[in-house]
Symmetry: none
Subunit: 128 residues, 2 copies
Amino acid sequence: MIGYGERLKSLRLASNLTMDTVSKAAGIAKSTYAGYEAEFRQPSLEKLVFFADYFQVSTDYILCLTSEQQNIGKCSSKDFLNHSKKFHWDGIPLSHDDMKEILCFLEEVIEKNEKSNHKLAESCKGLS
Amino acid sequence: MIGYGERLKSLRLASNLTMDTVSKAAGIAKSTYAGYEAEFRQPSLEKLVFFADYFQVSTDYILCLTSEQQNIGKCSSKDFLNHSKKFHWDGIPLSHDDMKEILCFLEEVIEKNEKSNHKLAESCKGLS
DNA sequence: GACTAATGTTCTCGTAAAGAGAACGAATTT
DNA sequence: AAATTCGTTCTCTTTACGAGAACATTAGTC
């Protein structure tokens, strides 16, 4: 068990938040939260889950079991195709070709969003 | 915070292990571990990390933050939309509408694959 | 440079609960 | 039915969580 304090601290600073803000959001005393970052006190499981949601990371990341901030739904487009692990859809494995399709589509979505800042609610109907 | 006891129990039973075996491996008393499964006692973070390693799952799984035992590149379609964590694309957050689009498209891909067992290499061009 | 405000750190203390160990209960085997 | 195995529950001790206040430190203001 090493480093969850550092993780919390860097996550908090990355969001430009004070200990007071975070502790109040978590419903604990400022001194209590300071104890977490100083790592002479351990948050309860409830608090751990809260911080994961609050900072939008996995509990594994806070506990230093992974270096990836969130290991669900986030990977670079490079990783997306080259990833060692297989991707699935409701248990059905996706082929590399499927992945390329999806990648292509996602980039379309992102590009449009970036440009127009507008959701393309029709793109799905015009698919097939 | 709900269900980590059930998770531990099912993981233990899936491995055909007794409480005595698991508790000894974790270096705690049998009654202590029983408290975890009955959920009237919470494991420390060290113990949580131990169980994740011992049962080869993520801490997020034990804490019921995901329904998938390994949380990279695998989630159910239900989780896909309802997940508490935000999804991103190369750092750009995806809105819920984006997710619905993606879900719709993915289901198309899977359905076509299932029926024809053939990749639809053109679907991407006909998009926009 | 002193004054103030804001943020972070370090005390002490009460209390909740983690953890142990033994006893108990239920189920299975011999 | 005696013995063994596995799970549950009891009581007790001790740990440490969490709070609140005091203290320290930095930053901004006059």
